[in-house]
């Protein structure tokens, strides 16, 4: 087999697994939300609604692709792809088990954070290209919010990096081997985890920070004009990003693939932890009301950013102190 084919197998598998996961994670969220709201949730398609995601995907594929007459067509058509690519690329550096991943870069987390911030380009293109006032307002909010929350997101993700002393995700996982998960690290670990979850919520535009979508004000925000497969791509990207962040969270704070049982259960543990984080995000989403754009910015710049920065500095002192500095 030529080398270029073997090099493609890994990404191919990961891409398909991620798409499959995203499809079924929507069902998980719908079932979970339904339980919270004393409903049953999807139940008709297949046993317990298990085929519902497939039916949804088929429906979206068969829908008419509407392009508004006044839209900026190249930008409008390109936006879902520009949005989707960074959301998929973040999976490139995630190790799902020791040695199991597409590319375990030695700057893994830097790559993750850099690429995940790029989704804003797609968002803004969608908002601008739609030539719709709701979409434009949403794009303005997107730029505001994502820039404001990327900094706390990065700072809180850097705390485990400093504790582990490496930017490589597998090194961070290895540093937590033997039960020393960073969420259990006294004070710093818990605070960093909370900050990480809050900024993840905001970076993923989930309620209470979903001012981009804000369907009661902006109808559907930047994707109000999208239908059919383009809409599906945006949804796919959004959920892929959430799952990617959940995986990152489980690597940074929950010890990655560490868990009882034989070593080949590693990926299962990793998946379970990521799904746990995803359900925590879902739980918050379905219990809070949305806050206003100015309140979101206040929360970020006046509270979260100074708090995470202080935490980062405190962590650096702890690291130096433990290494026998001072």
């Amino acid at each position: 087999m030529p080398a270029w084919i073997t090099a493609l197998i890994g990404p191919f598998v990961v891409l398909n697994v991620v798409i499959g996961l995203v499809t079924y994670v929507t069902l998980l969220e719908r079932k979970f939300a339904a339980r919270m709201q004393s409903r049953i949730g999807p139940y008709r398609v297949g046993p317990h609604g298990l085929l519902q995601p497939i039916a949804d995907a088929l429906k979206l594929m068969m829908k008419e692709d509407v392009v508004p007459t006044a839209a900026d067509k190249p930008v409008y058509n390109l936006a879902p792809i520009v949005f989707l690519i960074p959301c998929m690329l973040i999976f490139a550096t995630i190790p799902f088990a020791p040695g199991m991943g597409v590319a375990d870069l030695n700057i893994g987390i830097l790559f993750f954070l850099a690429v995940s911030s790029m989704e804003i380009v797609g968002l803004f293109m969608a908002g601008w290209g739609s030539n719709n006032k709701y979409a434009l307002l949403s794009a303005m909010r997107a730029v505001n919010q994502i820039i404001s929350y990327d900094l706390p997101f990065i700072f809180s993700a850097l705390v485990p990096v400093m504790l582990a002393g490496s930017l490589k995700l597998s090194d961070i996982a290895a540093a937590q081997a033997g039960g020393g998960w960073f969420i259990l690290y006294p004070v710093i670990g818990q605070l960093a985890f909370v900050a990480f979850m809050v900024s993840t919520l905001a970076a993923e535009n989930r309620v209470p920070f979903d001012i981009l979508e804000a369907e009661s004000e902006l109808v559907a925000g930047f994707r109000v004009e999208y239908s059919g497969m383009k809409f599906a791509l945006i949804q796919l990207g959004e959920y892929a990003h959430i799952i990617g962040s959940s995986f990152l969270g489980s690597i940074l704070f929950l010890g990655a693939w560490a868990g009882p049982g034989p070593e080949y259960l590693g990926p299962i543990w990793m998946l379970l932890k990521a799904m746990f984080l995803f359900l925590v995000l879902t739980w918050i989403r379905w219990s809070f009301v949305r806050i206003r754009v100015d309140q979101i910015l206040t929360l970020s710049w006046k509270f979260l950013l100074p708090a995470t920065l202080t935490l980062l500095i405190a962590t650096s002192f702890v690291v130096v102190w433990r290494a026998g500095g001072f």
């Binding site: 709201q37 004393s38 307002l137 303005m140």
Partner: protein, 388 residues
């Protein structure tokens, strides 16, 4: 910032600089609460002016009433405020009874009170759900509250269904009394339902008031001063949320409301949260009134004009009268002119939602886009009643 009211619906802020964007919110909009159209002028995210446009749901109710007899119209009156259908039929039959000097038996009066208070609970539940959905989104915590509230409202609609046979538009009232008596076992079912709702209301209060995000969205938003409230002529929970102690059930008791003990909640803050608090207390007061009415429900006929044989049987002598009841949204009035035939000569509705809506252009400017829907939801308009 200075507010200046012009004779039109347009209120502009003294705001300088910046490019303005005109955005159309409604009549087809997820949180338009029907078919309200607000033309917002925005500077960035801040609303500087509101044009309120109504009339998309006009159905000629007043003209229609001239073509229908006194026996027929109460069922149609339900359709003005379809969220609180009992209220408008109540006002209509009260006006007809006032002209004809028709006595209403005590039992019928109590049944009307029970129906009106259950309706108030059902209507406030829908308000709570939709308002939270406005603030929290259909894909967020707001939808959770909405579904809880709808679950409770269903229980009340079930009660109405076993009482009247209909779930939305009832036709429960008729001139001289009520059309239906409560079926056997209904009183117990009603007591059970309101006991559950009483307990659940506390749960929702905990869910919302212990939630800093909800407080951040509701407190200090949509401030209506006492003077503005009185000038514009708003009614119901809005008026009481602005510190005016006015409730028709207390200040001009009708249908034996003087027999029941209840408190009228008044909040002085005047913001969305104050209006929310007023309605939350009203839930409990309504439950109290229903309990008392069920306990004291007298025996006797349910109508002073039993045995209705044809739709034109009720004739009201020449005269005119204005009757008003306290609906879930405020004062609902009906002005009726009778000419001695079986149909009214002229009828005029005074809808609470209509007058409440008039306050929006005064309070929205200066707020963010997100607050527009929160304020609109706290006003609780029903467009069937606004446009009629």
């Amino acid at each position: 910032m200075t507010l200046e009211a012009t004779p039109t619906t347009r209120v502009e802020l003294d705001y300088s600089g910046g490019e303005r964007l005109t955005m159309n919110m409604g009549p087809q909009h997820p949180s338009a609460h029907g078919v309200f159209r607000a033309i917002l002028t925005l500077e960035g995210e801040t609303v500087v002016a509101v044009d309120a446009v109504i009339g998309y749901l006009h159905r000629c109710h007043e003209k229609l009433s001239e073509t229908l007899t006194y026996a027929q119209y109460p069922s149609i009156a339900s359709k003005t405020d379809y969220v609180a259908a009992m209220t408008s039929e109540f006002a209509y039959v009260m006006a007809a009874e006032a002209i004809g000097k028709i006595e209403v038996p005590k039992r019928a009066q109590y049944l009307r009170v029970i129906a009106a208070e259950l309706q108030r609970i059902a209507s406030h539940l829908l308000w709570l759900g939709t308002w939270c959905m406005d603030m929290g989104g259909a894909l967020g915590g707001g939808a959770t509250i909405f579904l809880y509230a709808i679950r409770e409202r269903e229980a009340i609609l079930d009660l109405f269904e076993s009482l009247v046979g209909a779930r939305l538009l009832y036709g429960f009232h008729q001139v001289g009394g009520t059309r239906y008596d409560i079926p056997p076992g209904w009183a117990d079912a009603c007591r059970k339902t309101i006991a559950v709702i009483d307990q659940r209301i506390s749960e929702y209060e905990g869910l919302l008031e212990d939630n800093p995000f909800f407080l951040a969205r509701a407190q200090g938003v949509g401030y209506i001063t006492r003077e503005l409230a009185e000038d514009v002529g708003i009614a119901g929970p809005l008026l009481r949320g602005s510190g005016v102690n006015f409730d028709l059930r207390r200040s001009a008791p009708y249908s034996s409301y003087e027999d029941f003990s209840f408190t009228v909640p008044v909040e002085t803050a005047g913001d969305c949260f104050a209006r929310y608090r007023v309605r939350m207390v009203e839930f409990r007061e309504s439950i109290k009134i229903v309990r008392q009415a069920l306990d004291k429900l007298p025996d006797g006929p349910i109508s002073s004009r039993p045995g209705l044989k044809s739709v034109a049987q009720i004739r009201i002598p020449k005269g005119e009268a204005y009757a008003r009841v306290e609906g879930p949204r405020g004062e609902v009035g009906c002005y009726l002119i009778a000419d001695g035939s079986a149909k009214p000569y002229r009828m005029k509705w005074r809808g609470a939602s209509f007058s409440n809506l008039a306050v929006l252009p005064h309070i929205i400017p200066g707020h963010k886009v997100a607050d527009v829907v929160a304020i609109m939801g706290s006003v609780d308009p029903v467009f069937g009643e606004v446009d009629r």
